[in-house]
Amino acid sequence: MKRALSHPAVLLVSRFVLGMVFIVAAVEKISQPEGFATSIEAYEMTPVAVVNILAVFLPWLELICGLFLIGGVYVRGGSAVLAGLLALFIVAISTAILRGLNINCGCYGASGGTPVGWNKVLEDLGLLVLAWHLIKFWPSRPDGGATAEVPRTGPRSA
């Protein structure tokens, strides 16, 4: 099982799926910052004053990590950041559902919106699994650095 998960092709799939999902999600939010800010505000989990800061910074974090994943750079760091974001989203969406808030999840920006629902939580859990996969199985550098180059010759453990 471990050999299968360490296989470069399997790691590639995780990298691409996770990377692409976040790139697509980020682009809409970057192009419509006010819409995304409204979505964040609706969760009522943060003071209104900081909503814009989150609306500006989060999508770029998603985009940069997504691009780096596709490019095979800082894979473990990028996966760790995305895992953190996913955990945050899961908590936010779950809390909103349990509080009965009728809001747009803001997952892909405000337009084409999806209301909060447990299916979104499941999706995010699935992505979290991919991120965990990369953090755990992406080879680290021989010198102890976090992320090795894209493996070409097969799995190597540090």
Binding site: A37, S39, E41, V48, V56, P115
Partner: protein
């Protein structure tokens, strides 16, 4: 190894902060760093039902809604014009304006305020053809589920950007309407 993972994370976050805020500063539609809460203003009866002028004109000229008849789409600035259940009932009775239900089509079908039209706030472009036909100075009331729901204000912002100048929010929403035992209209097959 752990230390370098932390370094990668910090570097990614730092990049996002720098790029994000520079981009935000230089694009049109960029957001102010500190977001303001839009003020909720209760609209006076005289503004809504003043009998010397049509509803549209009196709302635009009246000073008592605190500085602007427009509910605009930009962040936090323009106040939200709130009406009460009593005022909504009177608007409906006197046929003074149009009511829009900003919730999902499914919720709308299950029950809505009679004569209310559905425009799901998260896909407003789908109602473009209908919106374009409405005179811009019409009195419009938008509602959704309750004060926590942001659909109504989001749609109000969208309409404001379109040029509508007399938009009101029934902030208490569908929950308050049904709790007060008000009549519920269910969608017929031939609607929409």
């Amino acid at each position: 190894m752990k230390r370098t993972l932390a370094r990668e994370v910090i570097l990614l976050i730092a990049m996002a902060v720098v790029v994000g805020f520079v981009f935000n500063a230089f694009t049109p539609g960029g957001l102010p760093v500190i977001r303001e809460t839009p003020e909720k203003i209760a609209v006076a009866d005289s503004t809504l039902f003043g009998d010397t002028a049509p509803a549209g004109a009196s709302a635009v000229s009246a000073g008592d809604d605190g500085g602007g008849a427009e509910v605009s789409g930009d962040s936090g600035g323009a106040p939200l014009r709130i009406i009460s259940l009593r005022q909504l009932v009177r608007i409906l009775d006197e046929r003074k304006g149009m009511v829009i239900d900003a919730r999902t089509p499914e919720e709308y079908a299950e029950g809505h305020i009679a004569t209310a039209v559905n425009m799901y706030a998260m896909e407003p472009e789908g109602y473009f053809e209908r919106i374009v036909e409405i005179p811009r100075d019409s009195l419009i009331v938008v509602y959704c589920s309750n004060p926590h729901c942001h659909f109504a204000r989001s749609l109000a912002g969208f309409l404001g950007d379109f040029g509508f100048s007399n938009i009101l929010l029934y902030d208490d929403g569908w929950d308050a309407w049904t709790e007060a035992g008000m009549p519920v209209e269910v969608s017929r097959e031939d609607e929409q």
